[in-house]
Each structure stands twice: as C-alpha cells, then as structure tokens.
C-alpha cells in the first residue's frame, strides 16, 4: 500500500513542482517522512536522489527554451560540493526534532513567498 501512496504522491509532487516552479524536494521530504515512514534525515537524503530525474527533465526543457547558461550553472554546481559537505555534517549532527522544525520553517517561508506572489 505504501508503494501506491509513494507512486501517487510522487506524481502529484511532480505536477505541483511543474505548476509552481518550486523544486520537488519541498514535497518529497514530507511524503517520505510522514507517508512512507522514513526518518527525517533519511527522507532528506532520499529526496535528493529523487530530485535528480526531475531536475534533469526540467533542465532539458529549459534548455530548449534557451534559458540555461551552462558555464555559470557548472560553476555553481561544482562549487556547491563544499557547501554540501557542510550541510550534511550539520544535518547529521542536529537531532531529528530540530531538523524537522527547521524544515517546517522552510515550508512556511516558501508558503509565504507563494502567497505573496499570488496577491492580486
């Protein structure tokens, strides 16, 4: 049954991310923790793997519209490795509860930004 939920919610997350231009991660993490039942840290780790096919398609589509500047993207992508190391270290050091609450704060910020963009 969890398999069906994961498939359906994954599909829904894709639709929402296409509609609103937010990444799939913001939806993958709660799906994986609250519905599939992973720990919050595993949900975050698994979300990153699940993001890859989604952004691959997104980047390919954007590239067709001529919206990708590849050299800057490469510089950002490669230099992100340093930040990733720090982020992984902090996420594994923090307790599950704190990590969950931090993520909840991120959800509120994104919700506020979306609502702000929808004003009139």
């Amino acid at each position: 049954m969890t398999v069906v939920y994961a498939l359906v919610l994954g599909f829904a997350a894709g639709i929402l991310s296409g509609l609103f231009g937010v990444g799939g991660g913001i939806l993958f993490v709660p799906t994986l923790s609250l519905v599939v039942g992973l720990s919050h840290l595993s949900a975050e780790a698994t979300s990153l793997a699940a993001i890859i096919p989604v952004v691959a398609v997104g980047a390919w589509q954007q590239n067709r519209y001529g919206n990708v500047r590849w050299r800057p993207a490469l510089v950002i992508g490669l230099s992100s490795a340093g930040g990733v190391a720090g982020g992984v270290a902090l996420a594994t050091w923090l307790s599950e509860g704190v990590l969950e609450r931090l993520f909840a704060c991120l959800l509120l910020v994104v919700a506020a930004r979306l609502a702000w963009s929808a004003r009139r």
């Binding site: 929402l16 992100s80 992984v88 993520f103």
Partner: protein
C-alpha cells in the same frame, strides 16, 4: 558590471546552495534563483533555467554524500522520483492553461498544514 563579479558571486552562490540543499534535502532553487537575479542581474527565466542545471550537480553531490552514510533509501527514491518526473511534464503544460492564483493560495495552505504537522510532530 565589473568582470570580477561573477567570479566571486557564482562560487559563493554554489557554496550557499550546497549547504542549504544538503541541510534540507531540497534542490536549493529557492535561494539560487533570487541570488542570480539580485547579484548578477539575471532575468527570472535565465535564473530558473540555470538554477535547474546547477541543482542537478548539487543533488548528485548530496546523494553521494548521504548515500555513503547509508541514509538514502534507493527503492523509495525511485518510487517517488520517476512518477514525479512524469508529473512535471503535466504540471508544466497545465501551468499555461489553468488560472494559477487560486491554486497558488491552496498550495501555500497545504504547505502551512504540513509545517504545522511537523511542528506538533
């Protein structure tokens, strides 16, 4: 704009995006897009496209690091990621056709509800 600015700004954006992405398990577009617009004067469309391409690498590094720690559940990643890939096509198409304002408000309400659920954990 001086020529040195992207040389400093791009790696700085990358470092911040990587940290944010790995800490929250998200791509990092939430910060890459506004930073490209604010620091380097990108149009929103350029920023979105460039951010997506960069995030591919960021997520790859994050996946590798967490994978090495044994935190990635590979079957669940496939279960969620591949249907999402198909959903993205549908969502991107629908974006052109449906009135998004009400949907956007409903979506932010959903995000707030999930946040509340996580807070009361």
């Amino acid at each position: 704009m001086s020529r040195t600015r992207p040389v400093v700004a791009l790696p700085a954006i990358g470092l911040a995006a990587g940290f944010f992405s790995a800490l929250f398990g998200v791509g990092g577009g939430v910060i890459v897009v506004p930073l490209l617009v604010l620091l380097l004067g990108y149009s929103t469309r350029w920023a979105t496209g460039t951010s997506l391409a960069a995030i591919g690498l960021t997520a790859l590094f994050g996946m590798a690091a967490y994978g090495a720690l044994g935190e990635v559940s590979w079957p669940d990643a496939a279960l969620v990621g591949f249907p999402a890939m198909l959903g993205t096509f549908v969502g991107t198409r629908a974006q052109q056709k449906v009135p998004t304002r009400v949907l956007t408000i409903l979506f932010s309400v959903l995000l707030v509800a999930v946040a509340v659920r996580l807070f009361i954990g």
